[in-house]
């Protein structure tokens, strides 16, 4: 089993839970006039770091920035935020699944396949 993949999954889980936190923040401020939505990005830099090895994955920090919609405005959309939140939860669940499968493999190895 690859040591890098569990580190990678753990980092992605961190990023996703941070994204969830900022989704909650954006939704909580839905009635704040002039509020600018904040988004968390880490996927691209995680992909780059994965090519460089475990250490650069571990040093990676997710980035926060003001979100921009396709039309270029920074105004927040409640529906989009909720969709993003549920997407984040889905991805989080998928990663947990992958991690669980890895652990099941390790368990099989330890028990000698019995």
């Amino acid at each position: 089993m690859d040591a890098i993949s569990s580190v990678l999954i753990a980092k992605a889980l961190d990023g996703l839970s941070m994204r969830q936190m900022f989704s909650a923040q954006n939704i909580a401020n839905a009635n704040t006039p002039g509020y600018k939505a904040i988004e968390v990005t880490f996927e691209k830099s995680l992909k780059l770091a994965a090519g460089k090895g475990i250490e650069s994955i571990e040093n990676l920090r997710p980035k926060t920035q003001y979100a921009q919609t396709a039309s270029g405005s920074t105004e927040m959309r409640l529906d989009m935020e909720l969709a993003k939140a549920s997407q984040t939860a889905m991805r989080y669940g998928a990663l947990i699944d992958v991690l669980g499968r890895q652990m099941a493999l390790a368990r099989t190895v330890v028990s000698g396949g019995q």
Partner: protein, 141 residues
């Protein structure tokens, strides 16, 4: 702050907003309050919960997840309208009575908006809960 706590601050603020709107609607005909003045419609002001020390850090500080908080409850401008009702016990010498200038339609709109945002916060809480539940499942199957 974690997602659940942030959504809870959102629930709290919208709840208080609903209370202020309900207060305005309930007092739509209140010509006197406990101070003997006409009731003035109020508006709840809210914004991201940023402390002074984080505010000093400038734009970067605005990008912290700290939830939302009530900034205050203020009287709306043009809060009084007068009507000619000489037989009203609260009429002045010219027969004019001061009424709160509650904009009924605007209050209802605000109320629907607040309740929608309240629901959105509840949904965010249940999504966060799903995530926590999945995390608890880790290594179980």
């Amino acid at each position: 702050m974690e997602a659940l706590k942030i959504s809870m601050t959102g629930l709290d603020v919208e709840w208080q907003r609903l209370q202020v709107i309900a207060q305005n609607l309930a007092n739509i005909n209140s010509t006197r309050n406990e101070l003997g003045e006409v009731y003035r419609p109020q508006r709840l002001l809210s914004g991201p919960d940023v402390t002074f020390s984080t505010l000093l850090q400038g734009d970067k500080a605005a990008q912290k997840a700290t939830g939302v908080r009530v900034m205050g409850v203020e009287n709306t401008p043009n809060g009084v309208r007068v009507a000619f009702e000489p037989n009203h016990p609260h009429a002045d010498e010219n027969g004019m009575v001061q009424y709160p200038n509650v904009d009924h339609a605007a209050e209802m709109t605000q109320m629907i908006k607040a309740s929608r945002v309240y629901e959105a916060n509840l949904t965010a809480i249940s999504i966060a809960q799903q995530m926590y539940n999945r995390a608890l499942d880790m290594g179980r199957g």
